[in-house]
Symmetry: D2
Subunit: 336 residues, 4 copies
């Protein structure tokens, strides 16, 4: 039985508690939150769980094997560090940490103690992303990839501590990292803060990879419509993932470009277009967090390295840090 | 009667000829094209029109008042210059010219001779753009503008002489110029060429304006789906223009953000969201080029300055030139 | 405090219990279900609620004011009758009863004892139907109505005791009854049973009203796509309600037909079409059953006649009974 | 060379002329129309074609091999009869004739003279219907068919001579006849005329086939939205054809129902649902009328029986006549 303490019982915490409790071989034994209403809600929903206001009561508790850190990002480092130092595995809400050096320190601390870090990149556990991963890697269906272009826009929710990049882009960046499996060379981020002079509410990130692969992320808190769409173009096939479409989340297009060198002039290219059937694979509708909770317990018990380990969290924080630096310097190229 | 000679009878030329001929007070008297098949097609469709292979027979003809230049962009300058020097008004396919200096020279030449230049920014004459212009300027419906975000992606058509920015973005840039009526400060363009090392097929442009207004343009020749969508956010209302939607091209959302300073901490902002009805105005379905042809004739007869005059063409070429410079320098900021 | 006993804790029962318990001035005091697992689920979720297997323990209990009957339709009459005879108000799952005479008997019983009957026509309490009702009646926006055309199709869920008409059409019929406020003259129902020779899985109902108003309902358990769309045409405006569209549930079209008598021939009509803007009113997203539960308690306390009283339930059962008779006689017209 | 005379040059006639002229081995030699403006339009577009006002000049002309009858349905019989009696093949706009007996007389006349009749059921030549036919018959992909459910609604165009059934349903009926290849047993049509007491503008037709196959057609001139959707359910797979969707006209759903007899009670059925991938086949975008014109010429030259011969036209007219009889008798079942 993996006994888990959960720090933070705001919006996401209750979902984490519920899904851990639904996992065989795991249960939540304690919940901490600074807010007394949150503690009352937890107590009412789970009468047998211990609640406390100070996270240290969790991380130091001898009857706890792992700690889930579901608090604002500014507190992740301190809580996770303390948990690791007390010999607990950690599950940390995204984004992993505020800085690259914090992430590196946590990774080192965990390695030294042979503890697991798992960063809550929930989207990796959705039916859609799992299916796309299968299409890209197992089957090589798309061929060599040309671009990854993601749009994640909606009205609000404005955050007071982080800009739209730190709020929304961790989703796109963690998905991109998982699907492409490539190290980016550099990025450029542009954007604008309309209300709070420090916190951009509209932003665009271009990420350069080796070998002509390019990624782009469009995040916006000021859009009247909600859009969650990712286009992935490859030399064999292309894919559109519309996460808001209930019936056709992922469509694979048998479309592409064929290029041959022109015989007359070696600098000219003959480009022709291929357009065939579309295919809409069935996507599982299981709650991603449930799969993720089970996977966390599995990785602890079987001593496996999670796909969303500290390194994955670090790679995303590196990109976020670079994006912020580029934004502050009005679109300066930041090498990675 | 305004007598018009048309240079270039490829894809767009026949549409220009048909629409000019449908205009009261104007007719096409001659068509030139280097390709003999094109000339035969013109002759068959319009038995009374003179055809020739050399554009100089058009620009020098005494029975011609205006010349429509519907040729590849590399030839615009030479032909338009020659036409102006022969005392003809000119109608020039977009983009106006290859360089800013060419555009400036043509404008000067026309001013000296009191001739009209009209650049074929066809989209300005669509029902959708005319309605959006009315919404933004006449009614002030959207309020102060926050951003303009346009996506124009599809599979092909690859051009051999220009990249995706010069091919597709003139539409977005001319529409942006017309709707926003503001001079941009700077731009950054990123992108990638996957086939021809000089010609980007995927590109992203961020354009900075004064007073926190920001624009973004996403153009892509490698998309499996066709998208033609522009979001415009304002402090009063927001608008989505989906040019591919037959019934709901333009939707105005009574949505927005209200920001008040927090009484406790003057650095904190209280942000609240407003979400009301949507409104889908009726859009006229008249062919844009027909309206534009009539407007060209009207501007010549009534001696009016067209909204899409040489200056408008120049502003777009300036942005295209800057975008290319930024692209070649991997996203360097270019001041305008 | 209105104390409510709930009979039936299968799929819908738990939602009824939760919403009643969330209502000020009401609480569920007892739940009965024949199935011991259901009782255990109820007990776990609500430790303070009494559970029992026999509904008679509910209807006879002195500390219960009203009984919610959330059981298969075949049992509604017996349970509701017994509840009324024991002086309880009743809330009955749709459809009200199996037959018109049962419905009439329950209404009579309730009237004699001055008790309330409320039939669970949940859709009447959705934001969409409330908005459409407001549009039709308060504002007269649509004008004189021409037709009501509703499609409710999906794959499954096959019922073993009722056909697709009794399963799905109560929604459409109760909405139609509420919105049109007219007594139909006659109906014709056609359909087919593909698996169970008695239970149609595809059916079409045409309902004739006085004054040229016509309604049509298309229900189908064998559709690969889920459709929930109602068109309502009036002489001033027209309306489409797509219940599956998150953003545009209800669209009002300023479209119509104008008919004038031809001056030459009085038998000829000149028909012209009018096509203007569309308007998408904001729809409240509150859970319908919550509103309905509050309304039930309100009607009991304030002694009001619910819009979904026994008479409304009876009108729907009359139509269902007629539809079944028509179906069994292969589309015979049944007068109402 | 098949020389064709075209009677009627209104809306559809010019398209027929253009497509015949684009067909190898055929040309239009004469056009007749009562309206002098129509004749002028024809003359201007095709200077070498003979025009005349009286169709008899066409049907009697010795230099004409076949006559295309593109006139109002009331005149089809007289013109086609006269053409056949003069030894011409005929191509007749849909619906074939006003009555079953007229259709039978024309078929007999053509057979006696070994002439071809082809009824302009254009939809049979669209890429979508050809693909669906291939899916249903060649591959047996859908399995045994359960139902065919078609909706064809829009605002207008009101006809003055025929009701909405005769105007719109010939499309659905000819497609249904072609795809299902089964003889219906009976039909029921309901509907309402809102303006002209004789001409229904809203109508619903249920068609019973042997072996539990059922079809339904919903036609409406008073709908604010245009819908062109057909659902076809089979025991192996199901199909949705949305003719207004540019990219996904035909979707095949690997969805279905599996029914097994319950072991406990032989009258109970266990129904389970199967839901797999979707597949969107590529549809050819060639103009249907072009394919049809080529096919007409091919059938004449090669002496083949067209799929849309007089018998196909007759089968549709039989259904239309039955639908009208049912409508006039308020939904009476009409046996076929």
């Amino acid at each position: 039985m993996v006994r888990i303490g959960v720090v933070g019982y705001g919006y996401w915490g209750p979902k984490v508690v519920r899904n851990i409790n639904d996992t065989d071989g795991a249960r939540v034994t304690a919940v901490s939150d600074l807010n007394s209403d949150a503690r009352k809600r937890a107590q009412r929903a789970y009468p047998f769980i211990r609640t406390c206001s100070d996270y240290r009561d969790i991380v130091r508790s001898p009857d706890i094997d792992a700690v889930a850190v579901i608090t604002p990002v500014a507190t992740h480092f301190e809580i996770a560090k303390s948990a690791l130092e007390n010999g607990k595995h950690v599950f940390v809400e995204k984004p992993f940490t505020c800085t690259v050096s914090q992430a590196e320190e946590l990774i080192e601390s965990a390695e030294k103690r042979q503890l697991k870090i798992m960063v809550d990149h929930t989207f990796l556990f959705t039916g859609a992303v799992r299916k796309i991963k299968e299409i890209i890697t197992q089957n090589g269906t798309l061929g060599e990839l040309y671009y990854f272009d993601s749009t994640r826009v909606n009205l609000g929710q404005f955050q007071h501590d982080v800009n739209v990049v730190w709020d929304l882009a961790p989703h796109d960046l963690s998905i991109m990292d998982y699907l492409l499996m490539k190290n980016p060379d550099a990025l450029i981020a542009t954007g604008q803060a309309h209300f709070n002079h420090d916190l951009e509410d509209v932003a665009y990130i271009t990420i350069y990879f080796p070998e002509k692969l390019i990624a782009h992320i469009n995040v916006n808190w000021l859009s009247p419509v909600k859009v969650r769409t990712t286009l992935i173009g490859g030399d064999k096939k292309m894919l559109v993932w519309n996460d808001l479409d209930a019936d056709q989340k992922v469509i694979i297009y048998d479309k592409g470009v064929e290029v041959t060198n022109c015989t007359k002039n070696i600098y000219d290219l003959l480009v022709s277009y291929r357009s065939g059937d579309m295919w809409v694979p069935k996507i599982d509708h299981i709650e991603a967090l449930k799969i993720e909770a089970e996977y966390f317990v599995h990785c602890i018990k079987e001593d496996r390295v999670p796909i969303n380990d500290g390194q994955a969290g670090l790679r995303v924080v590196k990109l976020l840090e670079a994006a912020n630096r580029s934004l502050k310097n009005r679109g300066e190229m930041v090498y990675l």
